[in-house]
Symmetry: C2
């Protein structure tokens, strides 16, 4: 299995409501057969009805509310960008679960849950380089220590 | 907010157990301060203790078992690759929730949950191009229909 991810699909209660939320954050998607696709760098973020997604995967769905155990992170180039995006998300109806503040790793970040409870972190992390096209490159951890 | 994703963090019960699972699928990660980082194309996939992740995000955690509402997909270039990866995942302890079979979109895919319940789909989708480097490019939906 190659070390990569192709799509992240978020199960949603109301497709139009979820699409509107991401549209208000400036995203442009394509709705095809009750599914919304966003090209997000080298992968796709997809919105699909939660009940369809659960059934398609063959897993039981106890409904939203609990913690998914998944965090989606969007890293940016400045603390100002963090504040701007956190404000835009709250304005679009997100629940801020941690106000933006300095982090233990020397960065600045905030966290919110979208309308379906999916957890996002918006972060400025000086240690994780963002390329010009927005893709993230991990630092060379092996230069600091060798514990793989 | 730019239309991209920087990191996907999976909350796990036992970091070493989770790291071993992905190692058995052929992934190479770096463990730094009780966190495992995998470079996955233009983003990072991260393993971190579920209780730390929940606390860090400011959300309550009712424990694993329920459906997260998130599906991670890994697309490949052939049906054989789907079968091979599904077998490797099951061998590494994953729970197959849908055996590999032809899909409604004319592809071939199977689904499993990893040791912490995170849902993965392994898919061959002839309609979604994979670049040489493995990155996914969505088709030009607007050419087929215009419903954005």
């Amino acid at each position: 299995m190659e070390q990569r991810l192709s799509l992240v699909t978020l199960g949603v209660m109301d497709l139009e409501r979820a699409h509107s939320f991401y549209r208000r954050l400036g995203w442009v998607g394509h709705e095809v057969e009750n599914t919304v696709f966003f090209q997000a760098g080298g992968l796709a973020i997809v919105l699909w009805g939660r009940e369809h997604l659960a059934a398609d995967l063959g897993v039981a769905d106890a409904g939203i509310g609990g913690f998914s155990g998944v965090a989606l992170a969007h890293n940016v180039r400045s603390t100002t960008e963090v504040d701007d995006i956190m404000a835009a998300a709250e304005e679009a109806g997100a629940t801020v679960t941690r106000a933006a503040s300095t982090t233990f790793y020397g960065g600045y970040a905030g966290a919110f849950r979208d309308l379906d409870g999916h957890a996002w972190e918006i972060a400025h992390n000086p240690g994780f380089a963002l390329c010009a096209d927005g893709t993230l490159r991990l630092p060379d951890f092996s230069r600091a220590r060798d514990d793989t």
